[in-house]
């Protein structure tokens, strides 16, 4: 696991620090030995498919679940056994969990009231938070009278009004339609810069995670597989799961021959940018936009190259997506002579000449753009 240090940390004490955090629900291990440091002022995304333990991890930071094992500190204070109302964190819940029997203003004022802040001071802070999320004029409405986007803003204001040290967001954009979601992504990112609070964001949407966060932690089956900047995680996935989950990729099966060379099942021995132990099953990850297509035999010397046949061409407006069959199906004269077939997805800009299904082609890529991942 490549564990890059949090970039430009505001203070030397991490906002959230987890050591060997596990959570078991009767027989099920929801979170399994997570070590994680989130820096002060960071926008951190916990990314993974549903059921991977990301929400449980978030709930443990909030205090809504108590870890079965491990240490958890928020700004240096051990909080693992603290109840949620003692922790300096607030949560924007999935589906928002707004109080239906209270108005927008009452919802936002709730946290202040519970901490004994009332009167003009509370009114001023509620007004500020309302303005921050642009909900002026909605103060006296009930949550049921608001649209999904507005409810989301109330949930944000209700949490931010308390000036939490860490704001936890559990799939906050999941219930919004695509267009609104994209707007809110930009807005949330801007808001985080404005308030300077550490955001921990849980999502299953990898594009959202890449677009919004300073660093991403990828989880699967309770484990934290990789932590890094979006570019690190995308370009150098640490495992097959990460390569496959983040963006689209071609995974070519094979066996490592030397630390950085892989014998692919479709034939050809190729090198990759990283190293693995020799002799183990592995896969080569090549991103579709890194795959170059050439007419058969016109591939430049030096780079890894496979011959194949286009089986499908899809026009997307700004790009073509081609599916290329390589390996066993390739006719005589091809360089690939493996005993297995595979398909490779390639993307090319629409400016280049279009290729049709059935055309024999060669695909190549730069070794620096590929990663070999273990099973």
């Amino acid at each position: 696991m490549s564990s890059a240090p949090p970039p430009d940390a505001g203070s030397s004490v991490p906002a959230v620090e987890m050591h060997g955090i596990s959570k078991r629900f009767s027989d099920v291990v929801a979170v399994d030995g997570v070590d994680l440091q989130i820096g002060d002022g960071e926008f951190f995304a916990l990314l993974g498919p549903s059921g991977c333990g990301k929400t449980t991890t978030l709930r443990m930071i909030a205090g809504l679940d108590i870890p079965s094992e491990g240490r958890l500190a928020i700004f240096g204070e051990e909080v693992a056994s603290w109840p949620p109302d003692r922790r300096p964190v607030n949560t924007v819940f999935q589906a928002y969990a707004l109080f239906p029997h209270m108005t927008v203003a009452q919802n936002i004022a709730f946290g202040l009231q519970m901490r004994g802040i009332r009167g003009p001071d509370a009114d001023r802070q509620v007004a500020e938070a309302t303005a921050l999320v642009q909900l002026e004029g909605m103060e006296h409405r009930r949550p049921s009278q608001l649209s999904g986007g507005q409810q989301q803003r109330v949930a944000l204001a209700r949490a931010l009004v308390n000036h939490p040290k860490v704001l936890l967001l559990d799939e906050p954009l999941g219930a919004l339609d695509l267009k609104l979601r994209q707007e809110m992504q930009v807005e949330l990112k801007a808001l985080q810069r404005e308030v300077g609070i550490t955001f921990v964001f849980v999502t299953h949407d990898q594009e959202e995670a890449l677009a919004m966060s300073d660093r991403v932690g990828v989880m699967s089956e309770g484990r934290l597989l990789q932590v890094g900047t979006p570019a690190e995680v995308y370009e150098h996935p640490a495992s097959r799961f990460v390569a496959d989950f983040i963006g689209r990729t071609n995974l070519l099966e094979g066996t490592t021959e030397s630390p950085s060379a892989v014998r692919l099942d479709v034939g050809a021995v190729v090198t990759a940018a990283n190293e693995l132990d020799a002799g183990s099953p592995a896969a080569l990850s090549v991103r579709p936009e890194q795959v170059r297509l050439h007419r058969r035999g016109e591939a430049p010397e030096g780079d890894p190259c496979l011959d194949g046949v286009i089986t499908d061409a899809t026009y997307l407006g700004h790009a073509f997506v081609y599916t290329v069959a390589v390996g066993r199906t390739v006719g005589a004269g091809g360089t690939s002579s493996g005993d297995r077939a595979a398909t490779i997805t390639a993307r090319s800009e629409t400016g280049s000449a279009a290729l049709a299904a059935g055309e024999p082609v060669s695909v190549s890529w730069s070794p620096a753009a590929t990663t070999v991942v273990a099973d």
Binding site: L64, F93, A97, L98, P100, A159, N162
Partner: protein, 328 residues
């Protein structure tokens, strides 16, 4: 998804289009859209006629055995009692109603209301934690526990009340225990305390069930949200759980208060001569005292009290529907 909401012209908001609720009823009825083919109109009429036909037996039954006697009671309450104890259906007057303010009768009404109030409060205090426990169990266990709650409810009421009488009697186990512990025999049977205990036992199910329904529908994520917003467990309960289960609380209170107020069997068996309640008093007017107009007037009073309680409950559940409609 918009909430399922009864089309109510008074509550309708101008921004919400409710195509099913036209502003004025058309000849074909409120649910008929503007344009219908003759065949559709015929089909609709036939459907409505079938519906009326199916409702007839029940409606007739209620008319004969409920509406007519109720009408008779109301009529009798304005009638005159002759000196021989007969009821003369002439000389209509309000004398019976005026007697409600009498010290004796007023006292009985006040005592009945007070004991019904006590019963309601005790039921609420006993039932809320229980319903809370029930509603937070896994669904399978919930169903089984619910059956256990229903068993006493299905058991013959008289048997249950006589069981209590045995328990509380001066030769009963409760007294024996008290004596063994050195507190002496206790005399609780034939006191208001015994009546309240009996009514709490008898009506507890009426409190548990609506509370259970409200708590079972409760969105516990809201409690988590409150805890996350610095509310202690107790504060989250009072500020979130209680307001959101208010409809169940009001429904339960109405369902317990109304039968407690007019209760007859329990006070007759567990209450002493000193604990005369309105139910027994009404019965006495129709039987021993032979004052039907007074009995009828008091019955009307009980019915009015019940109607008020039902109205409160109706408004309460409509409110709950409105405030909690969309977010769940």
């Amino acid at each position: 998804m918009p909430p399922l909401r009864r089309a109510k012209p008074a509550a309708a908001q101008p921004t919400e289009a409710e195509p099913d609720a036209p502003a004025s009823p058309t000849p074909t009825g409120p649910e008929a859209p503007a344009s219908l083919t003759p065949a559709e109109v015929t089909a609709q009429r036939r459907r409505r006629r079938t519906g009326t036909l199916m409702a007839t037996p029940g409606a007739l039954y209620l008319l004969i055995f409920f509406v007519v006697p109720l009408g008779l009671i109301t009529v009798y309450s304005f009638a005159t009692r002759t000196s021989t104890g007969r009821t003369s259906l002439s000389g209509w007057n309000l004398n019976s109603y005026e007697r409600i303010a009498d010290d004796v009768i007023g006292g009985i009404i006040a005592r009945s209301a007070w004991l019904a109030f006590l019963t309601t409060v005790l039921c609420l205090v006993a039932a809320y934690p229980f319903a809370y426990y029930l509603a937070t169990r896994p669904p399978r266990l919930r169903a089984r526990l619910l059956v256990l709650v229903m068993i006493p409810f299905w058991t013959n009421g008289l048997v249950r009340i006589f069981a209590i009488r045995f328990l509380l009697g001066s030769n009963g186990p409760a007294s024996a225990l008290s004596e063994a512990m050195g507190f002496g025999t206790f005399r609780i049977l034939f006191t208001p305390t015994a009546v309240v205990l009996g009514m709490v036992y008898g009506f507890l199910t009426f409190m548990v069930l609506p509370l259970y329904v409200a708590l079972e529908r409760m969105d516990w994520r809201l409690v988590e949200a409150a805890r996350d917003l610095y509310a202690s467990g107790a504060k989250a309960f009072w500020r979130v759980t209680v307001p959101l289960t208010r409809s169940g609380i009001v429904a339960g209170c109405v369902l317990v208060f109304v039968p407690s107020f007019g209760s007859y069997v329990v006070p007759e068996i567990l209450g002493g001569a000193k604990t005369l309640l309105i139910g027994s008093y009404v019965a006495r007017q129709f039987q021993a005292a032979r004052n039907w107009p007074l009995g009828a007037a008091l019955s009307v009073l009980i019915i009015v009290a019940m109607l008020v309680a039902v109205a409160i409950n109706q408004r309460n559940s409509a409110n709950a529907e409105r405030t909690q409609g969309v977010t769940r």
